[in-house]
Structure formats: C-alpha cells, structure tokens
C-alpha cells in the first residue's frame, strides 16, 4: 500500500489545489466559458494572505485571524472577477478564454516586478512579520482553533485517549475541513435554481436568454463565486507553505493544471477535479525522484538487481540508465499522455464516466441499491 498511496504532504496539496480546480470547474464546466486566466484569483488569494501577514494590506494587522483573511481574500478576488468579467463576458468561446488569459498575464507580469510585495518579487514574498502560525477554526476560541503548517502548526497528543496527530496531519484535517465546507457551498449553489440557469447557459445560451434570464448577470455572478473559492484555495496554499511565488500562483500554466485536473476528473462534475488532481499527484508522487510515498524508481532500483540494471539495451544505454532517464522526475510526460488519452477516449473523465455507467451520482445510486429501490 505504501508504494501506491501518496504521502500526507502530497494529500494536502491535493486538497487545496483540488479546491482551486473545483472552482475552475464551477465556472468552466458548468457554464461552458473556459476561464483560462483563473490563476489570477488563486494568486490573489495567495498573495493577499502573505501580504496581510507581512502587514502590507491597508487596515489589516499582521495578527488578523486566518479565517478572516481567507474570507477577505475571497471577497477581493470576487471584486476582481466582477471587474474582469464585466468586459470579458461580452465575448464567448476562444475569445473569452483569451481575454481572461490576457488579464491574468497582465497581473502575472505586474506582480513579478512589483517591489511592494517583497524585496525580490521574482521569487515571491514569504511570511516574515507574522510569527504566530495560521490557524483554521473559530477565531477567538482557542480550543476550536488549530494551527496549520509543516513546522509552525499544532500537533495533537492523545485525543480521546488514543489519537495522536503530527503537525502535518493536523494541517491535513484542518485544510480538508475548509475544502469540505467550500465544496458543500459550491455544491449547494450548483443545485439551486441559480445553478440550473448556469447549466442552461452551457447547453444553449440563446434559449436560456429567450426564456427570460439575463444570462450576463448569471455568468458574472457565477464568475464571482468561482473566484471567491479560487482565492480561498490560494489562501490555504499560502497559509500552509508560508510563502508564494509568481510562477506557482499567477502563471497561466497554473490554470493549465486546474484544466488537467478537471478533464481527468470529469468536466462539469464538481467533485471530479479533486479526484483528477489526486490522480495527477499520485502519478507525480509515484514517479518522483525520491518517491517519498514509495515510488517506482526506488522500487525498481531495489528489486531489479545489479545484473539487470547493468544490462545494455542499446548503444551503451543500460537498463539502469534508461530507468533513470525516463522515470526520474518526468511525471509531466506521463500525465500529458494520460491527459491526451482522456481527451480522446474518456471525454467525461473519471467521475463523469462512473456516473454515466451507474446512471446518476454515485451516492444516490449506492443508496438506491442499498434500499432496494430498484429491481
């Protein structure tokens, strides 16, 4: 099992980035508008938290509770989304994808050289001013507040007499809690009348308009909601890592990763992107250099034996060298192959395909089976 399951730090990344991918899917998968600059909102959330912790956001002290910061970052991103969306939603298709990409790249190159954020904006700022860790919970009630972070977080000894968690595990559960709440909130919105209009826009925007919905306001609203949760995801990322870089937040390939997760997990299924990113991270972890969660490379090195490793394959290339060349940290290649195969052969993604096979959401079908509602 150890060889297959990613380790807990990877799982934390799965949680916060999965939330970002879900927020991307919320707008792109449900309204059909490919928001190719979604990283702008993720980056806004991440930078907001780090800047606030360094006392660089006006009116906010360095000790502002983390939960407030997440909400404020979300609101800031939602405002940004309304500004961007107001001009972008006059376009559709490729043009919408490109204008959102354009906006996010403007922000990316700006933040990369804005010396207000830190002494070396190209590498990104780190949390320097705030010494206390970021904590998730009910602000003001210490016993309901648990700190996150690898080194800075809380650890728990002997909960209920036998449960003990290290700092990373506490972070995992607390970040997971926020992600879960956000997931349920988005789920609720998708299944509300508002969400049904979004799906109507995806299926046939002209018809939705003809029925009497002002689709512009619905799209703008959905964009703002999506940006809010993207910023929360970015805030969690910054809160756990305590530093942020332009390349890992505002850059357009960050949106690309969310797109990857959405396609593999299932476009237009809210929970799908989380599974998609889990799948992605699992491959990355499995093929990583060190293989902290086990991994293929150390396994092969240990089990193939000296003689096999030294066997010459072709023109002086030994098996050992070949394994090193093609497996050493080149997960992107295999993720790309998997992605292309999904686009070609599994267009509905993991979760979408499972739902198609079962004939409905997994939870509902399983419950129906257990109750014996059918056959």
């Amino acid at each position: 099992m150890v060889t297959i399951l990613p380790d807990i730090e990877t799982m934390i990344a799965v949680l916060y980035f999965g939330l970002f991918a879900m927020s991307f899917d919320f707008i792109s998968g449900y309204t059909g508008y490919l928001s190719f600059g979604h990283a702008a909102f993720y980056g806004t959330g991440a930078y907001f938290v780090v800047l606030a912790a360094n006392g660089k956001v006006p009116l906010l002290g360095t000790a502002t509770p983390f939960v407030y910061l997440l909400v404020l970052a979300g609101i800031a991103a939602a405002v940004l989304a309304v500004l961007i969306g107001a001009v972008s939603f006059r376009l559709s298709g490729v043009y919408f994808a490109m204008i959102t990409l354009g906006f996010s790249q403007v922000l990316y190159v700006f933040i990369r050289d804005w010396d207000y954020v830190g002494s070396n904006p190209r590498d990104g700022p780190a949390v320097l001013e705030r010494t206390e860790p970021f904590s998730v919970g009910v602000p003001g009630v210490d016993s309901l507040d648990l700190a996150i972070g690898q080194l800075a977080g809380d650890s728990i000894e002997g909960l209920l007499g036998f449960l003990s968690f290290g700092t990373t595990e506490v972070s995992y559960y607390m970040i997971g809690l926020v992600v879960l709440v956000c997931y349920f909130a988005m789920q609720r919105i998708i299944h509300s009348p508002f969400g049904r209009v979004l799906v109507a826009i995806r299926e046939n925007e002209e018809r939705a308009e003809a029925v009497g919905y002002n689709t512009f306001w619905y799209k703008l609203g959905a964009f703002a909601v999506s940006a809010f949760f993207a910023a929360v995801a970015g805030g969690l990322f910054a809160g756990f890592r305590r530093s942020v870089a332009p390349e890992s937040s505002f850059y357009f390939l960050v949106t690309g990763d969310a797109l990857l997760a959405s396609i593999i997990g299932g476009f237009g299924t809210l929970a799908g992107p989380l599974y998609g990113w889990l799948f992605d991270e699992t491959i990355t972890e499995f093929l990583s250099k060190t293989g902290e969660g086990g991994g293929l490379l150390p396994y092969l090195r240990d089990h193939l034996g000296e003689a096999t490793m030294a066997t010459e394959l072709y023109n002086g290339l030994t098996v050992g060298q070949a394994i090193d060349t093609f497996l050493n940290g080149h997960a992107e290649l295999y993720i790309g192959v998997v992605f292309v195969l999904f686009v070609l052969f599994v267009p509905n993604g993991l979760l979408g395909t499972v739902r198609d096979r079962l004939g409905g959401p997994v939870a509902k079908r399983v419950a129906a089976r257990l109750r014996g509602d059918e056959r």
Binding site: G93, V94, Y95, A97, M98, D113, H330, G336, V340, V343
Partner: protein
C-alpha cells in the same frame, strides 16, 4: 497637496518631458523603428503558422510554442554541426538556410503526423476538445525534449552558445546607416521575416493549393462538395504551420535575446496568441499588421525601460494590455470577421 509632493511631481513631470524629448530625437526614433521591425519579423514568424491553422481548421493550437521550441533545438543542433564548420560569411549564410529548410521539413513532418494521428479524431467534437488535446500535446513534447536535453547533456553546457556564435561576423556587428547604426542581426531578421510573409502570401494567393486552402477556410463543406479532399488540406496546413514555427525557432537561435530552452515553448506561445488575436483570428493579413504593432510597442517600451522607467516587465505588460484593450474595443481583431471560431 504639500509643497514637497508638488515639487516631486514637477520634477517627475520635467523628467518625463526630458525623456520624451530624448525619445523623439530622430536617431532614437529610427533605432526604435528598426528594433520594432526586427521584433515584428520574429513575431510574424512565430504567429504565422498559428493563424493559418486557426483560419482553416478552427483549431487554436496550444502546441505551437512547443513546435517553435523544438525548431530552436533542432536548428541549433544543425547549426553547430553544419554552420560552425563552414568558413566564410557566404557559406555560413547558405548553411544557415539549409538548416532552416531542414528544420522546416522535420517540423512539417511532425505536424502532419500530429494532425493525422491525433487531431483528426476530434473534428466532430466541440472545438474546446481540440484546444485540450493540443494543450496535452505540449506537456508531452516539452517533457520529451527535456528528457533528450538531459540525456545527451546538451545543457547547461555552453554548447548552445556555439550555435549563437555561428553567425557570420557581419551579423554580429553594427551597420552604419548614416544617421543611425543598427545591428546587422536586426536587418537580417527583418529580411527573413519579409521573405516568410512574402512566401506564405504567394503560396496562399498565387498557387492552386493556396486557393484550395482559402476556399476550405471560407466554407469547408462547400469545398468538400466540389470534390476536394479537405481532410488532406487540413494535414497540409497543419504541417505548414508547424514547419513555419520550426523555422522561426531556428531564426531565434542567432538572436542572443532568445536561444533554446524548454520554457521557450510558453515564451513564444503567448506572444503568438496575442498577435493572432489582435490581428483577428485566422486572417493572415491581420497577423502581419498585428506583428508590426506588437513589435513596435515592444521596442518602444523596451527603450523606455532601458532609459527611464524602472520596471523590467514593462514591455511584456504592454503587450498583454494591448491584447486586453483590443478584445474590449474590437473583439474580432483588426481584420477579423465576427464570430470566427466562436462556439
């Protein structure tokens, strides 16, 4: 406003007026113009293939930057082996064009294979799937190149400086044109850019195959009904686009501002997008005009950054701001037709 800020503002304003005066001096304007045209030549080569592919097939090819990047490596490799051995400026130029042609052919082959093997399967799906497929393709191509580069130990050794150094000496030096002196490389880039534009334009408007391509992008169904195999035309155009991207990559190898690296794929893809969108997706004329606009904006803001403004990202930011402004004011681009490629 207190006196101090008023004074600072006045000084800043005076500085700006000074700078503007300096900028408007003929020799500075002329060198910015040449720089801008050289940049426009590079942009038109990077974006030309992209707009052909979009115009005919409606596919926004995300793998286009990777094609340029592979072209840079292949071209660089050929140049180190072939051009480096050549003696005399004339021979070097000749072998450079041989390397350019070889890269064009290799990349065209790769492009054709990609179209036949992958993209052809997706024509009956919504256009977003083609974007997704080519996006996945960039991941694969970039990583394969990274593996090859690591495996052969091509970087970070300084071998690639060798490719840079293979250019004939008159390209590395400045040419005196009376009022101003410009780098020979800029003039060379402008020449190659003009040749590419002229070649593509002639191919599209003066040959029978170009006529078929234009007919296919106007109305694919009608062209099909006239007995023309549009699918084969798609393959040819995709190959052509990839080939031009590869040739652009080769040209980049002589320019010290670019050179070969795996991130070059993203670095060229984004300007190419900007250029085709500003020009109007799928119009070749628009792409040429937009390349000139973007090249000029780039050169102008680079001059301001080098001389007066302390903000390194100014040129890049300006380019994206032009994109955003264009999409707000005139979404179909300079020469675009409304609703091309919208879904």
């Amino acid at each position: 406003m207190d006196v101090a800020t008023a004074l600072t503002n006045q000084i800043a304003l005076a500085g700006f007026v000074d700078a503007l005066g300096q900028f408007l001096r003929p020799e500075n304007l002329a060198s910015v113009l040449v720089d801008g045209l050289a940049k426009a030549a590079i942009y038109v080569m990077i974006a030309g293939g992209l707009t052909l592919i979009f115009g005919l097939m409606g596919v926004l090819n995300f793998a286009h930057g990777s094609m340029t990047m592979i072209g840079a490596y292949l071209g660089g490799l050929l140049m180190v082996f072939a051009v480096g051995g050549a003696t005399g400026a004339g021979m070097r130029l000749l072998t450079f064009f041989l390397a350019l042609a070889a890269t064009f052919a290799l990349l065209a082959g790769l492009g054709g294979a990609v179209e036949v093997g992958l993209i052809r399967r997706l024509y009956d799906r919504p256009p977003v799937y083609q974007i997704l497929l080519t996006f996945g393709l960039t991941l694969i191509l970039d990583e394969l190149v990274r593996i090859a580069v690591l495996f052969y130990g091509m970087q970070p050794t300084s071998d690639w400086q060798a490719a840079l150094g293979t250019k004939p000496s008159f390209l590395a030096e400045s040419v005196d044109l009376g009022l101003i002196s410009v780098s020979g490389l800029s003039l060379f880039e402008i020449a190659v850019g003009i040749a590419t534009v002229a070649g593509l334009w002639a191919f599209l408007t003066r040959t029978r195959y170009g006529l078929i391509i234009r007919a296919g992008s106007e109305d694919a169904e009608m062209t099909e009904a006239l007995g023309i195999d549009v699918r084969r035309v798609f393959t040819v155009v995709f190959a052509l686009g990839a080939g031009v991207a590869g040739a652009a990559g080769t040209l980049l190898m002589w320019d010290p501002a670019w050179g070969a690296s795996v991130p070059l794929a993203a670095d060229t893809l984004l300007p190419a997008f900007v250029v085709v969108i500003i020009g109007g997706l799928g119009t070749f004329r628009g792409t040429v005009a937009a390349a000139v606009i973007v090249g000029m904006a780039d050169a102008t803001t680079t001059w301001w950054f080098v001389n007066h403004v302390d903000f390194a990202s100014l040129p890049e930011m300006t380019v994206f701001l032009i994109l955003v402004a264009m999409l707000i004011l005139r979404p179909q681009g300079l020469f675009g037709v409304e609703e091309v490629g919208g879904h």
